[in-house]
Symmetry: C2
Subunit: 483 residues, 2 copies
Amino acid sequence: MNSHMTPEEFRRHGYAAVDWIADYMTNVADRPVVSEAAPGDVRAALPPHPPEKGEPFENLLSDLDDIILPGITHWQHPGFFGFFPANASGPAILGDLLTGGLNVVGMLWWASPAATELEEHVMDWMADLLDLPERFRSGGPGGGVIQDTASSAVLVVLLAALNRATGGRARAEGVSGRFAVYGSDQAHSALEKNVRVAGLGESAMRLVRTDPATLAMDPEHLRELIEADVRDGVLPVMVMATVGSTSTTAVDPVPRIGALCREFGIWLHIDAAFAGVAAVCPEFRWIHEGVSEFADSYCTNPHKWMLTTVGSSTLWVADRGAVIEALSILPAFLRNRATESGQVVDYRDWQIPLGRTFRALKLWAVLRWYGAEGVRAHVRHHVALAQEFALWVTDDERFELVAPHPLSLVCFRMRGADSRTERLLELLNADGRIFVSQTRVNGHLAIRFAIGATTIDTEHVATAWQVIRDLADRAGTCEMERT
Amino acid sequence: MNSHMTPEEFRRHGYAAVDWIADYMTNVADRPVVSEAAPGDVRAALPPHPPEKGEPFENLLSDLDDIILPGITHWQHPGFFGFFPANASGPAILGDLLTGGLNVVGMLWWASPAATELEEHVMDWMADLLDLPERFRSGGPGGGVIQDTASSAVLVVLLAALNRATGGRARAEGVSGRFAVYGSDQAHSALEKNVRVAGLGESAMRLVRTDPATLAMDPEHLRELIEADVRDGVLPVMVMATVGSTSTTAVDPVPRIGALCREFGIWLHIDAAFAGVAAVCPEFRWIHEGVSEFADSYCTNPHKWMLTTVGSSTLWVADRGAVIEALSILPAFLRNRATESGQVVDYRDWQIPLGRTFRALKLWAVLRWYGAEGVRAHVRHHVALAQEFALWVTDDERFELVAPHPLSLVCFRMRGADSRTERLLELLNADGRIFVSQTRVNGHLAIRFAIGATTIDTEHVATAWQVIRDLADRAGTCEMERT
């Protein structure tokens, strides 16, 4: 029987695990980026019942190689251009390790003061880096908190907005009545999901039209929808403006949206989950136009484009009291002097669950290792690669860009019927050398080419473009054969 | 400027981080268990702005020692008897490391098949270990999923229950109407919080009385409340029965509660967040009486008592369709063949957020390292220590137990006025050698002594008891001085 892993055993197995990751980093580019596993393949290789006796740690590592890796689509692969990136980095991974090693629960300041204070501090640092307004910093009435995902951030602010809009009635009596929440037809599906979670129902969701050229929210349509709701006795609760939409990184016109929110007294949340990080560079800070003036809350994910492993979504609110009022609860077993003194932040009241890890540690590790200039260089590199890629697409007459590409995502399609692009996507998926995802833009199928892997360089993008061109030749041939 | 950490740099810094944790494991018992930091101390030691240039990784480790550790209350310390444990273990910590190293997003089967399949598989293993019913396993209409916390698990099943109870109306139109959710007055505050989150409002929460001796839910009172609600046109949505309450590890009478739920068609969720893990041992499996027959859903947290670091809360449901119906959403950018084939599980539809880590990896690491017999030995050891401690309390006439202590938590107080116990708690907190938390039982203040640190042994419990006795002498003296 294995007893607890002793510190010396931990040291030995820890080195082996570190080696395993270092080797993975070294070799990931040689693997097929997309898993070739069919449904059930991974499970078929696992024993049906848990082991009765403990096993050597080496077994785990060898099963990682033999059973798990064939079932992994490698998000850290330089051929991974799908979804948005989840780019990891050495300091973030070691941040995960250290977080697990301390394994404190940061639900209350009292439960480990450093977990809370480092988070407040790093959130102020991030506000510095992104040039966010003073009212989001910890010194004033607002503040920052790390959520697990931008979806959770949306839920938190939606509940705060709802409670504020109803003067506390939502918390006390529930959401009886008619409410409306607004986001563009390009907004992340997390908005609609959380409108349901919060008890408002799908019928409360208002999809605001977007401009077909920019794919950004049409503020005139937003005004029409709000006015119609007000006329009908429906209470507008929140507008979510998107800075960098999931589909195409479209940027909503926040100044005009913000002015409307102010006019009607509506909470304005900015979902910059992917793109917000770009604001570390002054030349991309235009994406935040209007945020300083108008936003009640703002979210971006270091775990997408800022080299931090998953579980790092940074949310700021201008009025932390609104969040706490919606979410606080203090059972007897959590009572303590620090909380009662009012001198400390208890992050359990800034999120849905009670428990939480020492979330700031890995973000701190990333910021220390890279420094502001390292993060800026990272973002600039990806944007430059994407701009170059977009030129190549433009130069090939078989393809067309379908949306603006101000940052590191390029969306394009094959000219002509959607069936061509569909065929190309099938060929790309079957080929496995690169991974792309898809979307629909103005009714047409399009390929999303998202540049974001940590170690990506020109050669990888060039190779990807060659793969796409080669398979486009085949797609064209098949298309001709079909017609 | 630091560039990306190379694999060789990662290897070197990774070893150093592993060494740091091994040393922490070795020395944690020599530190004061409770942080002595005052509000603001940690922040005062940090630079006001983020670094412009990257720093050596060594700086991070030395700041961990100098700035962070003084602000840590050590949950891994053998003198930590507060809250419930969050006992870490070597394999779990290395699981965190490996999870960060792969850094895949397990939102869809397609996004990394192994992340989903290992989770389905390990959840079946856990169902084996806990002797949970067949209908919770992946082969039938139900299944298991790992949530970040038991709070999130409650929200997920509450939304499923609400949607089922309203025939889909809640999802489509929101929660307009009158609803009721039931839990005992000892149920975790997550229930009340999530009743609010789901838009039902505090007024929908029904606190069922508990028996003063057992602190378990009184099913007669539950029946009265349900019948009154039905009479008044209020729709009963969910009953949450607690197996191992946060305050005292009280166990609700699930068979009688379950029969009522069946009679009235109400979703029964079992919150066994802390205690459920004890069911790995046949002799403690009585805590699950009624679960097999009646539960619609069941949750326990390996990250409390089963050696897994935070972020591992295992939830099973008997009808996964109900969960998916409440939570699914499929935007264009997530469309894929595997999902459309219906052959795979997409865990994004089993949780509130979209994103998620490779959650099963660390739980798999724990189960492989310890095996079933290792986990059982761990639980038995803690229960035996607690039973011995309870005897010592009973033998000291100054103290009294305030609740049954079937598992590893012992709740006790000083006889006489609450001010004595209050004073003892103050002295214990100021002393810092051990950490305990508090609760109220039948109106009286009580000390919660939760045994659960990974490396705890008889000597630590004996030392803690000596500390308590010594300080009780002083508390008694102070009490006399006051009167």
